[in-house]
Symmetry: C2
Subunit: 296 residues, 2 copies
């Protein structure tokens, strides 16, 4: 089996190509917002969510072109959330993926609008007949993404995260729920999308959902660790923000050692949920190790 | 035929009731964003877009419950756009529908998130099977709303509008395109939604689209007139903002008299496009007069 870095890079190249074709070509008087949409989406990133979509879709023999469109839609949605989260009124981050955040490169109004348009475009891509021949599949993709992205998903998680900035006494349970919404919902959707595209049996959907749940949490714990241990150069964004703000995180509550042990345990658990898929789930198993061992 | 104010009020009551059921009940730690979503959506407004959905749907004998869900989804989308447009980085408006705008009532971060979640919820509502039994209809509703709301629709129009603030020499053609995107796209969608729900023949869709096109433009010209002629009390928002900013509008270029004449002409044209529907289009014909004669 190839090293996961190779597989990740291959998916990233494919999804970047797909994004380049799906994002509107900047032209006309409104080109500023189209430029900002490209800037926010094409600036790199590990493309972990697309990797999860592609690897899950492969379990059910989904056509690659279908899965790539869904992967691109998720990346648009994810990019919009980063653009809005970076705004001065939210996390106030000037740096993203090693480059100025969208509102620094353009301006706040353009960044807000680019995020809004990226969200709309994600749904447009999913709903397009090129994504899947069966409208029932397309509408299921839309419905599940809307839930994952909304007030009881990603946006709700970001609300909790902002409120948490003034709370130093959050419990592990509260932080877990916050992260399950903020980053977990979209990670779970990325895996579920493969199953929806492949019209998978319920038992396999459940197994994949359990995998995604544990993987998402491990991912977030490692994010918290990297915020403490990593450097801004490696991460391409400011570090130690949470510690500086005195904010409760997995690491501030558990300590670094227990947090790392917890992440490893969750990654093993995630792998174990893949048992029904046998050897076919090799890429998803690799992903669990990568999530825990990554340095950025 | 009842006066249009009566029909509008009846639709407003129905759609408010539907919105109240579809918006998530505020609870849990993230209730702040749920409160803001309700605040932004339930604060009144004429509900002209829902009126257009309901009146168009009636032409094709669409079940009222279906049309009401679509009307509510459009109003969520419209409300999100008002919340984001009112932000300090955008139009910086403290007043909306006679009440503090969402970011004044809550805060900027909550307003951004509430807008984001309202957009997601609009798509969730459209994609839900309660909206229509045929997934092909639901996915068409999603697809067309995504286009109307995105970078080549409403968001693109708002980008043009922000750029126009520093341009006093816009042509009538440029202003027309700006408004066709900013407000026209969602008004057109409101009419198209009735035809999608009713699986209308192409010729009737085209007639309805032509009606919506002219109605949308008339609506915007009157908006510009009211900005000059109306009072803040009547309108529930600040007036004379465009004049104060030296911004090019239909009124600044055409003058009040020619602008009013143009709006009337467009309204008559809009009515004429309804000919294929005969007497059944009475409500849509009334709407053209209302749009031109309204005082707020």
């Amino acid at each position: 089996m190839l090293p996961i870095e190779t597989s990740l890079a291959a998916v990233a190249a494919q999804v970047n190509d797909t994004l380049g074709r799906l994002l509107p070509e900047p032209s006309g008087a409104e080109r500023r917002v189209l430029d900002a949409m490209r800037y926010a989406t094409m600036g790199g990133g590990k493309r972990i969510r697309p990797f999860l979509v592609m690897s899950s879709a492969r379990l059910f023999n989904v056509a690659e072109a279908s899965a790539l469109r869904v992967a691109a839609a998720i990346e648009m949605l994810h990019s919009y959330s980063l653009v809005h989260d970076d705004l001065p009124a939210m996390d106030d981050s000037d740096l993203r993926r090693g480059l100025p955040s969208a509102h620094k490169q353009f301006d706040e109004a353009t960044a807000i609008l680019a995020g809004d348009a990226l969200q709309a475009l994600a749904f447009e891509v999913l709903a397009h007949e090129a994504t899947h021949g069966d409208p029932a599949v397309r509408v299921a993709l839309v419905s599940e993404l809307a839930k994952a992205a909304g007030a009881h998903g990603m946006v709700g998680g970001q609300m909790l995260d902002l409120l948490a900035e003034t709370q130093t006494d959050l419990s592990i349970g509260a932080i877990t729920r916050l992260q399950r919404l903020k980053t977990g919902a979209l990670i779970s959707y990325s895996c579920a999308a493969g199953a929806i595209l492949g019209k998978a049996a319920d038992s396999l959907r459940v197994a994949l959902a359990a995998y995604a749940h544990d993987l998402g949490l491990a991912f977030q714990i490692v994010d918290d660790l990297l915020d403490v241990e990593g450097s801004a150069e490696e991460l391409g964004k400011a570090t130690n923000k949470d510690t500086a703000a005195g904010k409760a995180t997995f690491v501030s509550i558990l300590g670094r050692e227990r947090a790392r042990a917890q992440a490893s345990l969750l990654a093993q658990q995630a792998s174990a949920h893949l048992e029904p898929f046998g050897a076919a789930a090799g890429l998803l198993r690799q992903a669990t190790r990568f999530v825990v061992e990554r340095r950025a």
